[in-house]
């Protein structure tokens, strides 16, 4: 093996450690039989046990799942339509409008959405959070779908029409199946973005409805307890399952 190769491996290892060591530490300490994240005392499930008895935490988790599911679903439909339109027609305004929320600082989104909801006289809660999440998720789905659209040869849809498919049949039988990896990737991205969003949610949540990130934040304000480690570990597992599932169902979906 050459010197260069060894150096490359070392750098790669360093990068992986940087990325995954903190996560690994969180997982390890979630099983640590000690209130302090300082030294390993012994193995325990008690933090998980405690977590599942924490009603506030459970309701926050339920809220997060509901919000993420609904906003990912709605954003996926709207984002897919936007992505297809952006590819198909030479639109000037739509791409900017759809993609701006991605580039916009979260804090700005949060404040402006809050002002908007107040102006509409809307009470803040699950619905306002969901609407806010849909807003910033659409752009990500649209991007993913648009990228996938450019990879689909135009002659395929033309061939379908040519061979007797109506525009709707062509969409159902050709475009949608070929677009699926992009849509799934977009939906997955939307779900993950929604479930871990803090800044925007913080502004539009109002009182009384909390999501997982808000709940964790309020707990961390006091101290990083092993309970926080436990809930973080569970979140990680959920994400991992989602990613694995997607990769299984649609090989190549995560490549884009």
């Amino acid at each position: 093996m050459t010197r260069k190769n060894r150096l490359l491996k070392l750098v790669a290892l360093g990068a992986y450690l940087f990325l995954y060591l903190p996560l690994f530490i969180v997982i390890v300490y979630s099983f640590n039989d000690s209130k302090l994240n300082a030294e390993w005392v012994g193995f325990t499930f008690k933090w998980y046990d405690k977590l599942f008895q924490n009603r506030e935490m459970l309701s926050a988790a339920a809220n997060s799942l509901i919000i993420a599911t609904v906003s990912a679903a709605v954003a996926t439909v709207l984002g897919t339509l936007a992505g297809m339109a952006m590819h198909q027609y030479r639109l000037k305004l739509l791409p900017g409008l759809v993609l701006a929320p991605i580039a916009m600082p979260d804090i700005l989104m949060g404040v402006s959405l809050l002002l908007f909801f107040i102006m509409l006289n809307m009470s803040l809660g699950l619905i306002s959070i969901t609407l806010a999440h849909i807003t910033f998720c659409i752009g990500f789905v649209a991007l993913s779908v648009q990228a996938r659209m450019t990879a689909i040869d135009r002659s395929l849809t033309e061939a379908a029409r040519d061979l007797g498919a109506t525009p709707w049949q062509c969409f159902r039988k050709i475009t949608l199946p070929l677009l699926a990896p992009g849509i799934i990737a977009g939906a997955l991205m939307a779900f993950t973005l929604s479930i871990d969003d803090f800044v925007i949610t913080f502004f539009v949540a109002g009182v009384g409805s909390s999501t997982l990130p808000l709940q964790i934040y309020s707990m961390v304000k006091i101290a990083v307890t092993p309970e926080v480690n436990a809930i973080s570990t569970l979140l990680m597992v959920l994400t991992l399952i989602l990613i694995t599932l997607t990769a299984r169902l649609y090989p190549g979906a995560l490549r884009s």
Partner: protein
Amino acid sequence: MLEIKEVSRYFDNFTALDKVSLNIAAGEFFTLLGPSGCGKTTLLRLIAGFDQPDNGDILLDGKSIIATPPERRPLHTIFQNYALFPHMTVTENIAFPLRMVGCTQAEINRRVAEALEDVSLPDKGNHYPDALSGGQKQRIAIARALVNRPRLLLLDEPLSALDAKLREQMQLELIKLQKEIGITFVYVTHDQGEALALSHRVAVMNRGTIAQVDEPSRLYGFPNSRFVADFIGQCNLLSGKVTQLQDNRAQVELEGLGPVQTAIPADSTIAVGRNCTLTLRPEKIHISSRVSHDEVEAHFKGIVHDMLYLGDVTVYKVELANGMLLEALLANSSPGRARFFEIGDQVEVAWHYDAGHLVMD
């Protein structure tokens, strides 16, 4: 059968088609030939229905089809890249047009099996297009396009992605197929050799207009313009001016060479004083070391400037007195070892007065 009437298509400021009119007969193998950007693919897309003309009409069996969406036109297209659906097996691909018209499963099974048999790929039904070679994809695309028996098949440079050997084989298969099923083929290509080899008739297109529509042999032998002569095969183009008309012969003053006699082509707009081009195929030029005094021939002295030995023939480029390079072919058909002129040799080039074809500029 297919009638194209003064069809125009503009893209922004670019005129892709300018009042193009064509008549294509039932059962014909018709080719649209031209350099890239000449409008041939645009015309094909208008016939298929992927695009709409800005002016003019397209009639199929006397009825206008421009308002008919592509799925309801009784014609199918073979795309340059085959356009097989990558998420469907070969069987599903071929079944697609049958499903769209609502055939029963039994009927679909039977006809797909038949179609696979017809293209000699009976055991590829469960493969995905990715697993096929270029030639196999080509055959499946043809099977899919023909499975529900269209009236017309449009082919958009279908052989351009294949290597030379396979291309020749597919050309023969296409000719055979078209003869067997008797469907009208409209074929688009930029390859003039392919057009000549395959077609009953060829429309040569240039900058959105039709330059000439004719049978391959007439296109080659009697081009109607400098452009067609130059585009179809190799051709020497000698500029000149008509100086005299007598009986069926014209005298042309060739630039820098002097007067030559040449036949007056049928229905020509020839007149004394007009600028013209004498088009002269390389194989019609004699090249020899002797000096001829034949009255029916035009002859000029020259020096061999370049030669290209191609096996069956040798191509000579002969430099004439005016510095012009004339291309001449010498078939290596005499028995025994082939004999050559060498570069730098003094030679004489000559052609019969009937060998050249005169076109007006």
